[in-house]
């Protein structure tokens, strides 16, 4: 298969019908999504209503008070800002340097290309925890603990293998003739990269950007060991603290979890074709 990082082909419509299968799959999907549905139902009811009627009942009254409480106590204004800043610092930079490396591997006949690819792809298999002690030591000696900047280096490094894997396979398929033609017109390697390779790789770049943004937004372990003050925490670490404080307040906890995940769910719904396409491209080139 030569699927590349384009939006996935539309699912074949196939013959209509299959009533029994459709019912079965709908039930399965409802079961699958039920934890999130329960979360919403619980988040919008008062705690007293939840306690007296139980978690599986329909709310007697509705309130948005849980969200206000959770937002303030969970420090979400700060963690949202931090996660956003980190994403904006890290993701464009990561995609750009990965695209540069991918271009060198795919089109510039770099010496030891195969060895470089092997080394970089090996990074896909390395668990983050093998690196946390030295990363912590490095950040401490650079004075970058408890700072978002300290996370950028490790986040970049762990994002590069997947990004290079997807991008180099895409860039490889750009016809050499286009690049040669530009060279004859006097374009140097930078101009070729910026005006031909990057624009032609746009679908792959968008996909990689989105997947990297999701991974960055969700990363937990580096953030856990490097950030300690409330003012510098990201959403996953902030949510963990919040979970501890609200363990006996189910409605508040549900509201807090929703505050943390709803934006991702909305983004996913709109961007899913890119996510699906990217995952398929990164993996299935068998």
């Amino acid at each position: 298969m030569t699927t590349v990082a384009a939006p996935p082909e539309k699912l074949k419509p196939g013959p209509r019908g299959g009533f029994g299968t459709t019912v079965g799959m709908t039930i399965a999907a409802l079961v699958w999504i039920s934890p999130l549905v329960l979360l919403v139902i619980t988040g919008v009811r008062p705690l007293a209503d939840f306690v007296s009627h139980g978690p599986l009942s329909w709310p007697g009254t509705f309130t948005l008070g849980n969200f206000a409480d959770a937002w303030n106590i969970g420090n979400f204004a700060t963690t949202y800002r931090n996660s956003t800043v980190l994403l904006l610092l890290k993701v464009p930079l990561g995609v750009f340097v990965s695209a540069m490396l991918a271009y060198a591997l795919a089109k510039l006949r770099i010496r030891f290309g195969a060895a470089i690819m092997y080394t970089v792809f090996l990074g896909l298999t390395i668990p983050i925890y093998i690196t946390i002690v030295p990363v912590f030591v490095m950040a401490r000696s650079a004075g970058l603990t408890d700072s978002l900047i300290g996370l950028v280096g490790p986040y970049l490094a762990f994002g590069i293998p997947f990004e290079v894997l997807v991008l180099q396979s895409f860039i490889r398929q750009i016809p050499d003739e286009i690049i040669e033609a530009a060279k004859i017109d006097g374009a140097g390697p930078w101009r070729v990269f910026l005006t031909i390779v990057l624009p032609l790789s746009l679908p792959a770049l968008v996909t990689v950007f989105i997947l990297d943004a999701v991974a960055t937004w969700n990363e937990f372990l580096f953030a856990l060991i490097l950030l300690n003050s409330d003012a510098s925490k990201t959403i996953p670490v902030g949510l963990l603290n919040f979970q501890g404080q609200f363990s006996n307040n189910s409605t508040g906890l549900a509201a807090g979890i929703l505050i943390a995940v709803v934006p991702i769910l909305i983004a996913y719904t709109f961007l899913q074709r890119w996510i699906v396409g990217g995952l398929t491209a990164g993996a299935s080139k068998g």
């Binding site: 699927t3 699912l11 196939g14 209509r16 459709t22 799959m25 709908t26 999504i33 934890p35 329960l38 979360l39 978690p55 599986l56 340097v97 540069m100 490396l101 271009y103 060198a104 510039l108 006949r109 770099i110 470089i116 690819m117 092997y118 080394t119 896909l124 298999t125 390395i126 668990p127 093998i130 690196t131 946390i132 002690v133 490095m138 280096g153 490790p154 490094a157 762990f158 290079v164 490889r172 390697p189 990269f193 999701v214 969700n218 937990f220 060991i225 996953p236 670490v237 949510l239 979970q243 189910s250 979890i257 995940v261 991702i264 769910l265 996913y268 398929t280 299935s284 080139k285 068998g286």
Partner: protein, 294 residues
């Protein structure tokens, strides 16, 4: 006319350098540095430490928690690879057939995978809550009060309960990959088989499964690689407990480094599991490299 150079030379290195330097500086170097620390008795705080050779590795043999964590890692790898792959394949085959609303169904089954693992842990911790959780409430509602129990609070069920959450979030990935691969199987094969009188089950085993062979390889390789990285879910759901019932190598490493000030010992644990992960994954990495350089 100048002869075409075989290699891209300095220009190519210029393009490769930024990503390579970051990769070497923040991934390769720390990993190797951990290997070094694993041969020391460093506590993680002091300015100095002694080289103790393979002592950390030999003391792992006598550490019952390491044995428990290694076993848990193994169980985790088998269960959270096999179950999602089988379920994902089943979903993909059904979604590839006569079903309405495919895009919505696909969207739903992959949804858990985009959530932060910490939030998945929070959601399931909340569902498992002995008193207010939906799972025990559901059991009580259908008269199975005796089955209501503290799922995350007792040794017998804690690991299984965390794996259910992992399965929930990991079914979507194999489903997506299989779905893409299924669209690549020639439909005429099925039509010919139907003409020849082959049943659905026979078609599945003789056309679908062979057609999915490359996909099987990738799905299983990536799932196994992912299973070795388990940390977030366990840490946020059970903190390795109750007792040490749900410790895995990643969390036990973390506790040794950051709670017990045994950075040398902790990194040794990380080295062991990483070496296993790399050894298992090398065929996959090699195949990806070969394909790209071909």
């Amino acid at each position: 006319m100048k002869r075409r150079t075989r290699h891209g030379g300095l220009v190519a290195w210029g393009f490769a350098a930024p990503a390579l330097l970051v990769y070497l500086g923040f991934l390769v170097y720390p990993a190797l540095n951990s290997l070094w620390f694993s041969f020391t008795d460093w506590d993680g705080l002091s300015a100095s430490y002694n080289i103790v050779g393979v002592d950390n590795y030999t003391s792992m043999v006598d550490d019952p928690v390491v044995a428990q964590a290694a076993l848990n890692n193994l169980i985790w790898a088998v269960v959270t690879v096999v179950v999602p792959v089988v379920l994902g394949l089943a979903l993909a085959v059904v979604l590839n057939g006569k079903v309405r609303g495919k895009p919505v169904l696909r969207l739903i089954f992959y949804t858990p995978a985009v959530l932060p693992l910490v939030s998945v842990a929070s959601i399931w911790g909340w569902l498992y809550n002995p008193q207010y959780g939906a799972i025990n409430a559901g059991l009580r509602a259908i008269g199975l009060d005796s089955l209501a129990q503290p799922w995350l609070g007792q040794d017998s069920t804690a690991l299984g309960a965390t794996m259910v959450a992992a399965i929930w979030l990991r079914v979507g990935f194999p489903m997506l990959l299989y779905l893409a691969a299924l669209q690549g199987i020639n439909q005429e094969l099925y039509e010919a088989a139907t003409v020849d009188g082959a049943g659905r089950w026979q078609q599945f085993w003789h056309i679908t499964m062979p057609g999915l062979r490359p996909a099987h390889y990738v799905v299983i390789a990536l799932s196994v690689i992912d299973s070795f990285k388990v940390f977030d879910l366990i840490y946020a759901m059970t903190y390795g407990g109750p007792g040490t019932a749900t410790q895995v190598m990643g969390t036990w490493m973390y506790f040794n480094v950051f709670q017990y000030n045994q950075a040398g010992y902790g990194t040794a644990i990380a080295v062991v599991i990483t070496v296993v992960a790399i050894a298992v994954s090398i065929p996959y990495v090699r195949s990806q490299t070969k394909e790209a350089s071909a």
